[in-house]
C-alpha cells in the first residue's frame, strides 16, 4: 500500500498497473491470448449457466436444452436444506439456521466479545439441539437420525468448532505444562489424532463405538460423528495454540508476575490474548478445513449438504445432472470459506492496528 501511494504515477496513457502487460511484442501477444481465452471461457460459461440454461421446467426440457439445468437444483432445493427432516419441522430448521446465523453475526463484532457471548453460545446451541428435535417442547419430533442437508453441515461445523476450541486450548496448555503426566497425556492425544486421517476417526466413531457401549444404549450416528470432529479439531487447534503460546516472549508473563498477577490472571489477561491474535490465520485455516471436511460424514451414512446433492443425483426422474449439483455445491462452499478468510484478514489488520496504537 505505502509504496504505491508514494510512487509517482507513471507517464503514458496506460495506468501503471497495466503497463507491464504491454511492454514489448511478446507481452502484448501473451496479453491478447489470455484475454481472448478468458473472454471465450466467459462466453461459454454465460451460455451454459444462463443464456441456454433451463430455470423452470422438467428433466425432459433440461435434456433438450444445451445449457445448465437449474430446474433440477430448484426442484431439489427443499431436500438440500431440510433433507429427511419431517415437513412439520421445517420451520424449526429455518429458525435454528437463523439463530446460528444471528449468533455468528453477533460474534463478528468485537464489542460483544466476552463471557456473556460465550454463555449465550452454549445456551443457544443447547436450545437449538432440543428445539429442532422437538420432543422437549411437545412439537412434531425430528429425531437426530433424520437430520440431514444444509442443517447438518452447519451444525457439525459450528458445534465442532465450539467444542474443539476450548478443548484444543486445554490440550495446548497441557502440552506446555510442567506436570509430566498431563504433558504426556496431551502429547499422546494430539499426536495420535493428528497421526490418523479424519476418515478413520469417523469410521472408528461409527463402527467401533457401538461395540464399546453397554447393551441397550444406542448413540446416534450424528452424535458419534460430532464427537469425532471435536476430537479431530481439538488436536489440530491445540498445535496452533501451542505455536501461539510459544510465540509470546517470556518477558510478558514475567512482567505480569511482577505486577502481582496470579499465573491464571497472567495467562488470561496477558499471554492468551497475544497468543491467539498471533495465530488467527492458522485458526481460520483450521476452521475452513473442518467446515469442508464435514462432507466426509457421508461415508458413515450421515447426509450433509453434499450428501443430499449426491443422493438426489440418482432420482430416476432427474438422472444425469451431476455438473449442476456440484457447481451449486462448489458455489456454496466457496462463499462460506471465502467469507471466513475475508473476515480473518479484516480481523488481522484490525488487531494489528490496535497493536501499533
Amino acid at each position: 500500500m505505502t509504496t504505491t501511494a508514494l510512487s509517482r504515477p507513471a507517464p503514458g496513457r496506460l495506468p501503471a498497473g497495466l503497463k507491464p502487460l504491454f511492454s514489448g511484442w511478446t507481452n502484448i501477444a501473451i496479453t491478447a491470448a489470455c484475454t481472448a481465452i478468458t473472454l471465450w471461457l466467459a462466453a461459454k460459461l454465460y451460455a451454459w449457466g444462463w443464456a441456454e440454461a433451463v430455470i423452470h421446467g422438467d428433466a425432459t426440457a433440461c435434456r433438450a436444452a444445451s445449457g445448465a439445468c437449474w430446474a433440477f437444483i430448484a426442484d431439489k432445493f427443499d431436500f438440500f436444506v431440510f433433507g429427511f427432516i419431517p415437513e412439520a419441522a421445517h420451520w424449526r430448521v429455518l429458525f435454528v439456521l437463523g439463530l446460528i446465523a444471528a449468533m455468528i453475526a453477533a460474534s463478528l463484532y468485537r464489542a460483544f466479545w466476552g463471557r456473556t457471548l460465550l454463555i449465550t453460545w452454549v445456551v443457544a446451541l443447547v436450545f437449538a439441539a432440543l428445539f429442532l428435535q422437538g420432543d422437549a417442547f411437545g412439537l412434531t419430533p425430528a429425531p437426530l437420525r433424520t437430520w440431514s442437508g444444509l442443517v447438518v453441515t452447519i451444525w457439525i461445523a459450528v458445534v465442532a468448532l465450539a467444542t474443539a476450541y476450548p478443548l484444543g486450548l486445554i490440550l495446548a496448555l497441557g502440552r506446555l505444562s510442567q506436570m509430566r503426566a498431563v504433558r504426556l497425556l496431551s502429547i499422546a492425544w494430539i499426536e495420535l489424532v493428528r497421526g490418523v486421517p479424519l476418515i478413520s476417526i469417523l469410521f472408528l466413531a461409527s463402527i467401533m463405538v457401538p461395540l464399546f457401549l453397554p447393551e441397550g444404549i444406542e448413540l446416534e450416528v450424528l452424535v458419534r460423528a460430532q464427537v469425532g470432529f471435536t476430537i479431530f479439531g481439538s488436536a489440530y487447534l491445540a498445535e496452533i495454540f501451542r505455536a501461539g503460546l510459544q510465540s509470546v516472549p517470556k518477558g510478558q508473563s514475567e512482567g505480569a508476575a511482577s505486577l502481582a498477577l496470579t499465573r491464571w490472571q497472567a495467562l488470561r489477561l496477558v499471554v492468551l490474548p497475544q497468543a491467539l491474535k498471533a495465530v488467527i490465520p492458522a485458526q481460520v485455516n483450521t476452521f475452513i478445513m473442518i467446515f469442508k471436511d464435514t462432507s466426509l460424514v457421508l461415508v458413515i451414512g450421515v447426509f450433509d449438504l453434499l450428501g443430499t446433492f449426491k443422493a438426489s443425483l440418482s432420482d430416476p426422474a432427474w438422472l444425469g445432472f451431476s455438473t449442476e449439483a456440484y457447481v451449486a455445491g462448489a458455489v456454496f462452499y466457496f462463499a462460506v470459506c471465502f467469507g471466513m478468510s475475508l473476515y480473518s484478514r479484516h480481523l488481522e489488520t484490525k488487531l494489528s492496528r490496535d497493536h501499533q496504537r
Binding site: 461395540l211 461415508v299 443430499t308
Partner: protein, 339 residues
C-alpha cells in the same frame, strides 16, 4: 512409542470386531419399536432414493417395509441408513443395522467369511450390454470387432474379456473410470456398446438424450444375485426376513394384489386362505401375526407390483423384467410355497 500404541489399538480393535451376539436381533428390534435397514448410499435409482417429504422410496426400501410389516403389522416402523460399500458390512456386523437391503451381491465368501446369511435373493442382476438400436444388433454374439466402453479394474472388465474370448470375437475397450464420463463417451459415439450391470445400464440409458433409441441386449455376462443379508446365528429373525420376502413373491404367484387382497381373503381357495391367514397356522408358526402376509400385501403390494412401480417399463429406468419374472412366466423367480 507411537508404533506400540498403534499396535495396541489395532489389537484391541481386532479383538472387538466380532459380531455382537448378546440378545436376539428380534428382541432388540421389538424393544426399539423399529427395524433398521441399510440401503445403498448415497442412493441408487429405483432401489432406494430420497423421495419428497424426506422419505426413502424404492424397491429395496419396500423390502425393508415388508419385514417391518411382518414384525409390527406396520410398514412404516423402519429406520433407513444409507451406507456406502465401505461401511455396509461393518455396520451389519456391529449391529448398527439389522438387515442389509442394499443390493449386496450374494456370493460364497460373504456368506461364509463375513458370517452373514442371505435369507432371500431379491433381484437377479447381471452384466449386460447397451447398444444403440440403429446398430441392428440382436445379441452380444454379433458384436465382433466392436468398441466397448467399460469401467477399468472391475470384475465387469474381466467378464467382458472372458465373454469375447469365449465366443472367439475381438473388441477394442474404451476404459474410463467415472461412470458419468463413461456414459458421455457412449453418448458421443466413442464406443459402439456400453457394458455394466443391467440395472446400472438402465440408469445410464435414462440419462441419454433419447433413451428409447438404445437397447439392453438380452445376454448376461455375469451372475449378480442381489440378496438380503442378516447376521449369522439369529435363526428367528432370518426366518422372518425370508418369509416376508417369499410372501411378496407368493402373492404374485397366487394373483393376490394390493387392490384385490380384501376380495381374495374371501376366496374359497384353501392355499390363498392359508396364505392370507384366514385359516390360521402360518403366522403362529413364524411367531408373528396370523395376517402378516395380508398386511404386507395390503400396505406394500406384491413383488410384481413393486417391480412395476420402481423399475418397470413405465419408470424412466425401464428395466425389462427378464429373469426376474415368476418361474411360471418364464423367469427364474421361484420361492418356496407358504404352507
Amino acid at each position: 512409542m507411537k508404533g506400540f500404541t498403534a499396535a495396541l489399538l489395532g489389537a484391541v480393535s481386532l479383538a472387538c470386531i466380532t459380531p455382537t451376539e448378546a440378545g436376539s436381533t428380534l428382541d432388540a428390534i421389538k424393544a426399539r419399536g423399529s427395524l433398521k435397514c441399510a440401503v445403498q448410499g448415497p442412493s441408487n435409482p429405483g432401489f432406494g432414493v430420497p423421495g419428497s417429504g424426506g422419505k426413502w422410496v424404492g424397491f429395496n426400501v419396500d423390502l425393508c417395509r415388508a419385514i417391518a410389516a411382518t414384525i409390527f403389522g406396520d410398514a412404516e416402523k423402519i429406520q433407513i441408513s444409507a451406507l456406502t460399500t465401505q461401511t455396509r458390512f461393518p455396520a451389519l456386523q456391529s449391529g448398527e443395522v439389522d438387515v442389509l437391503t442394499n443390493n449386496t451381491t450374494y456370493v460364497m465368501t460373504r456368506d461364509t467369511q463375513l458370517k452373514f446369511n442371505f435369507p432371500a435373493i431379491s433381484f437377479m442382476d447381471g452384466q449386460g450390454i447397451l447398444v444403440p438400436k440403429k446398430l441392428n444388433v440382436k445379441s452380444g454374439k454379433e458384436l465382433n470387432g466392436a468398441t466397448v466402453c467399460v469401467q477399468p479394474g472391475t470384475t465387469t472388465e474381466l467378464a467382458l474379456t472372458d465373454y469375447f474370448r469365449k465366443n472367439n470375437m475381438k473388441f477394442t475397450p474404451v476404459v474410463i473410470q467415472s461412470r458419468d464420463e463413461l456414459t458421455r463417451a457412449y453418448a458421443d459415439g466413442r464406443c459402439d456398446a456400453l457394458t455394466s450391470d443391467a440395472t446400472t445400464l438402465a440408469a445410464q440409458r435414462s440419462t441419454l438424450a433419447n433413451p428409447a433409441e438404445h437397447v439392453i441386449l438380452p445376454d448376461r455376462l455375469s451372475k449378480e444375485p442381489l440378496g438380503i443379508a442378516v447376521r449369522h446365528s439369529d435363526e428367528e429373525f432370518r426366518d422372518i426376513v425370508a418369509w416376508s420376502f417369499n410372501a411378496l413373491v407368493n402373492a404374485e404367484e397366487l394373483g393376490v394384489t394390493q387392490a384385490n387382497v380384501d376380495e381374495m381373503a374371501k376366496s374359497g381357495d384353501p392355499e390363498i386362505r392359508r396364505f392370507l391367514g384366514v385359516e390360521p397356522g402360518l403366522g403362529a408358526a413364524l411367531g408373528v401375526d396370523e395376517k402378516y402376509a395380508y398386511t404386507i400385501i395390503k400396505q406394500i403390494g406384491n413383488y410384481g407390483e413393486l417391480y412395476e412401480k420402481y423399475l418397470g417399463e413405465k419408470t424412466p429406468l425401464a428395466i425389462p423384467r427378464g429373469v426376474n419374472r415368476l418361474y411360471t412366466q418364464g423367469g427364474a423367480l421361484y420361492t418356496p410355497p407358504s404352507r
